[in-house]
């Protein structure tokens, strides 16, 4: 193998070369003085590489642990071709075809690339010793992060919602990730969860607050707080927004109804300030400042013959009674000794008459047939105790009594003391009665029935519970004053009171029925009785009770709140039986 080694060196401004021909089987390359091609560089091993001929080819072989780079790649063995560039330390070896006229196999151009000093400078220059050497741009990084955030957080959802489809139902490219769902500050309440991704159901126009109209679109028959058009036009009501009290996006566990009192007390702590002339009293807190209870009570007008309902406050105890037109002393019926009944002495409880209604919140009306008739029997003739008069029908009562005694008289055989013989004598069916006899019998029957009618209405039966009035009309001599329809006392401002949720308490703990002598008593407990258990929201000593727990907001009654209070009316004289 004959190789022409052409060594290049820089001499002044010019490059000069020296040629040397080597003819050997193996050509050794390294720093050692015994090498065929000696490269003086401390970073090169004494023996770094060899060129070996095998058949028609020359191979460059690197010694173990000695780096040799050919055409930019680190090699162990490489078949040399024309144009190959080998780098060993600071030296570059290029394989070229032999010059014309030479008998060498190939030419190897050897050149010291850079001086030792330059090489060191370059090596030092290549070191990355500060973060600026890493070419990391904070500005680029900043822009990348800015776009990574702004695109899915604002630009894409806005485009999908308002650019692509103004209809409201945002198309979901990647569900919940790239949609206006990322703007959702919290989960919807359970009632509205079914809206899902349809934000436009409430948020109809961009940059416009959710309007009351979008709520009322579904909640059609909701009452406003002030039914009176004058009140409704006041700024405080006109500017009221559903979302003032119903805050959405607070999560499924948070009720949609505001249970803090602030929204109510903003006006009700000083109602005179907002509504001059109103008869509303200040209600700043349930425990500290809340009006005493008012009930709607009945007033009977004898002239008109009908009932009117007025509001009576506990503040004016003299007004707090209902014209029930019924004589019913609770104390007598609730006597622990009991009351007489056909079955013997019977001790009554509240539940014997007051039966809860379906909801349990209130009670079914008390009825004569179900609750009174067992003791208060409507019989009228001692000899016929099972013959009963119809309740609530004075004309039929009169007719029944008259018919009964007419038949007794005409049939004969009646065992009635003081009755004429024609009435007392027994007669067979074939014994006709002469006209004078019949007239005498009917005259007795008229007298007898008039007496019994008077007794039934005025003494024994009706007047026990009812007020009986003489009419002066012989056909129907008495009338009964109408009884107030149940419920007899109405709590209109606190409709949410639920008897069922207070069932752990005995009735007597709130209602002083055992001491009530008259049915006109509303038996309304005092507010302090409620305060024994109920306190304000945020308190820890008592059950936290918000305004809306007892009071409804969307109620139509608010229309008469500016009206003057009803004047006190004297109660009707109502006697107690026995």
């Amino acid at each position: 193998m004959r190789i022409l080694i052409r060594s290049w060196s820089q001499q002044g401004a010019e490059r000069a070369s020296v040629d040397r021909l080597i003819d050997a089987h193996i050509i050794r390359i390294g720093r050692g003085t015994d090498q065929d091609l000696e490269l003086s560089d401390l970073r090169i091993a004494l023996a770094q590489a060899e060129i070996v001929r095998r058949d028609a080819n020359a191979f460059l072989t690197a010694k173990p642990g000695a780096p040799v780079i050919v055409n930019g790649e680190n090699i162990k063995e490489h078949k040399l071709r024309g144009g190959d560039v080998c780098e060993i330390g600071r030296f570059r070896l290029q394989v070229n075809p032999p010059p014309d006229g030479s008998d060498a196999d190939f030419q190897l151009d050897v050149e010291e690339l850079i001086s030792q000093r330059e090489e060191r400078a370059e090596r030092v220059g290549r070191l990355r010793t500060s973060l600026t050497d890493l070419h990391l741009s904070r500005r680029t990084l900043a822009w990348v992060l800015f776009l990574i955030v702004i695109l899915p957080a604002l630009a894409l959802p806005a485009w999908l919602r308002f650019g692509l489809d103004a209809g409201g139902n945002t198309p979901m490219l990647v569900p919940t990730l790239v949609s206006d769902q990322v703007w959702k500050p919290g989960d919807l309440s359970t009632a509205h969860t079914y809206f899902k991704n349809d934000c436009g159901k409430c948020h109809q126009k961009a940059f416009v607050k959710v309007t009351n109209e979008s709520c009322v679109a579904c909640h059609q028959n909701i009452h406003s707080h002030a039914g009176d058009p004058h009140l409704a036009s006041l700024p405080v009501f006109a500017a009221a927004r559903c979302s003032d009290c119903h805050a959405e996006h607070k999560g499924a566990r948070t009720p949609l109804i505001d249970h803090s009192n602030a929204a109510c007390t903003r006006c009700h702590a000083q109602p005179q300030k907002n509504f001059p002339g109103t008869r509303l009293e200040p209600a700043a807190s349930f425990s500290q400042q809340h009006p005493v209870f008012s009930a709607k009570v009945a007033r009977y007008s004898s002239a008109a013959g009908r009932f009117e309902w007025i509001e009576a406050s506990q503040q004016h105890a003299e007004t707090l009674h209902s014209d029930t037109n019924l004589k019913f002393p609770h104390d007598f019926h609730l006597s622990p000794k009991g009351v007489k009944s056909p079955g013997g002495n019977k001790v009554l409880g509240c539940a014997d008459c007051h039966v809860p209604d379906v909801s349990g919140a209130s009670f079914k009306p008390v009825s004569m047939q179900q609750h009174c008739a067992e003791c208060h029997r409507l019989d009228f003739d001692p000899d016929q105790p099972d013959r009963l008069l119809p309740h609530g029908q004075p004309a039929q009562i009169v007719a029944s009594i008259r018919d009964f005694y007419a038949r007794e008289a005409l049939a004969g055989g009646a065992k009635i003391v003081g009755a004429p013989p024609v009435v007392r004598d027994r007669r067979g069916a074939d014994q006709p009665l002469g006209t004078p006899q019949a007239r005498a019998a009917l005259q007795w029957a008229d007298r007898r029935s008039s007496m019994v009618i008077d007794e039934v209405f005025n003494t024994r039966t009706c007047s026990l519970c009812h007020t009986v009035q003489a009419t002066g009309d012989a056909a129907l001599p008495f009338s009964i004053m109408p009884v107030a329809p149940q419920p007899l006392h109405r709590m209109e401002h606190a409709v949410a009171f639920n008897h069922a949720s207070h069932s752990s308490e005995p009735c007597a703990s709130c209602h002083a029925a055992a001491a009530s002598k008259s049915s006109t008593d509303p038996l309304l407990p005092e507010i302090n009785r409620c305060r024994d258990c109920h306190g304000d929201p945020g308190g820890t000593a008592r059950i936290q009770t918000a305004c809306v727990d007892c009071h409804g907001y969307h109620r139509p009654e608010a229309k008469d709140l500016a009206a003057p209070p009803a004047p006190p009316v004297q109660a009707m004289a109502m006697g107690t039986p026995r």
Partner: protein, 294 residues
């Protein structure tokens, strides 16, 4: 006659940290802001629960947004050398204390209600920016002294040149000892890491590997010397080489520590600044979306 040292010279003023600027003026301002925000938060009892939606919530939100803008403006102010709007020192002091107070004020703004949305994203980014800033403040406090102590009287460039010289010197000595030792040393030198990528600069090169190379070289040499001809002479050379290697390793470690300390003092800005831009994007998205869907 010797002059007395000017120790009591009133003109000689000790260096004062920017954190102490004007007797903790901005610490006091920030604490006052926090106290006012806490008072407003607890004093206000809006209808429903406390939230960013109430009057107090809005006010704290506006305050937070203004603070973010002021803090972000730091990046511009510190490059405006001719600005007369306060000193950079004052700005830096305000930046640290106002930035810390923002974590509380922004939290009060949203009444600490969080969810998977852009609003909470903004708060999380805010906390990340503040956390990187806290890191930056801490390293600015301690690292310069560590750098000075590590460098001694040398500069980084001088240390690197000295290392190169030690490398060449040790290669020359190794060459005289044994070609195999030379080869090993060459391998060790070419594998000794100075600086490198982001991870290497911040956490240092993998020390174990570097140690391994040096130790194996020294062990190999010790084994070589024992059975050699002219052992005494070789041993002398080997001892000289070991000295060189120890110096070389010590210097390389000092250089790497210098690189590491510098990198740690700068790397937080590669988080702080881009995260601030991400935060600005999130705040823009937050404010826009809140008013878009009112």
């Amino acid at each position: 006659m010797r002059q007395p040292l000017p120790i009591a010279n009133p003109a000689f003023k000790r260096h004062e940290s920017f954190l102490v600027h004007q007797r903790f003026l901005y610490l006091k301002v920030s604490l006052a802001l926090c106290a006012a925000a806490l008072f407003a938060y607890f004093y206000d009892d809006p209808a429903g629960a406390r939230s960013g939606n109430s009057l107090t919530g809005y006010s704290l939100g506006v305050l937070s947004a203004l603070l973010i803008l002021q803090l972000a403006w730091m990046g511009i102010r510190k490059r405006r050398y001719r600005s007369r709007l306060g000193t950079v020192r004052g700005w830096a002091s305000a930046h640290v204390y106002l930035g810390l107070s923002l974590a509380l004020i922004a939290g009060l703004h949203c009444a600490f209600q969080f969810g998977w949305n852009v609003h909470s994203l903004a708060y999380i980014l805010l906390l990340l920016v503040i956390a990187s800033g806290v890191y930056g403040t801490v390293v600015y406090g301690g690292t310069p002294a560590q750098i000075t102590a590590n460098r001694g009287l040398l500069t980084r460039e001088a240390m690197i040149i000295e290392l190169e010289q030690l490398n060449e010197q040790s290669l020359r000595v190794a060459d005289a000892v044994n070609p195999e030792v030379h080869r090993r040393l060459l391998h060790s030198i070419s594998h000794a890491h100075i600086g490198g990528g982001l991870r290497t600069q911040v956490f240092g090169p993998e020390a174990a590997r570097f140690e391994e190379e040096a130790v194996s070289t020294v062990q190999f040499m010790a084994s070589q010397i024992a059975g050699m001809e002219h052992a005494a002479q070789k041993a002398e050379q080997a001892r000289g080489l070991m000295d060189l290697l120890a110096q070389r390793q010590d210097l390389a470690e000092r250089i790497n520590r210098d690189i590491r300390l510098h990198a740690r003092m700068q790397v937080w800005l590669y988080l702080h600044v881009p995260l601030t831009c991400a935060l600005l994007a999130a705040v823009i998205a937050h404010i826009t979306s809140v008013f878009l869907y009112r």
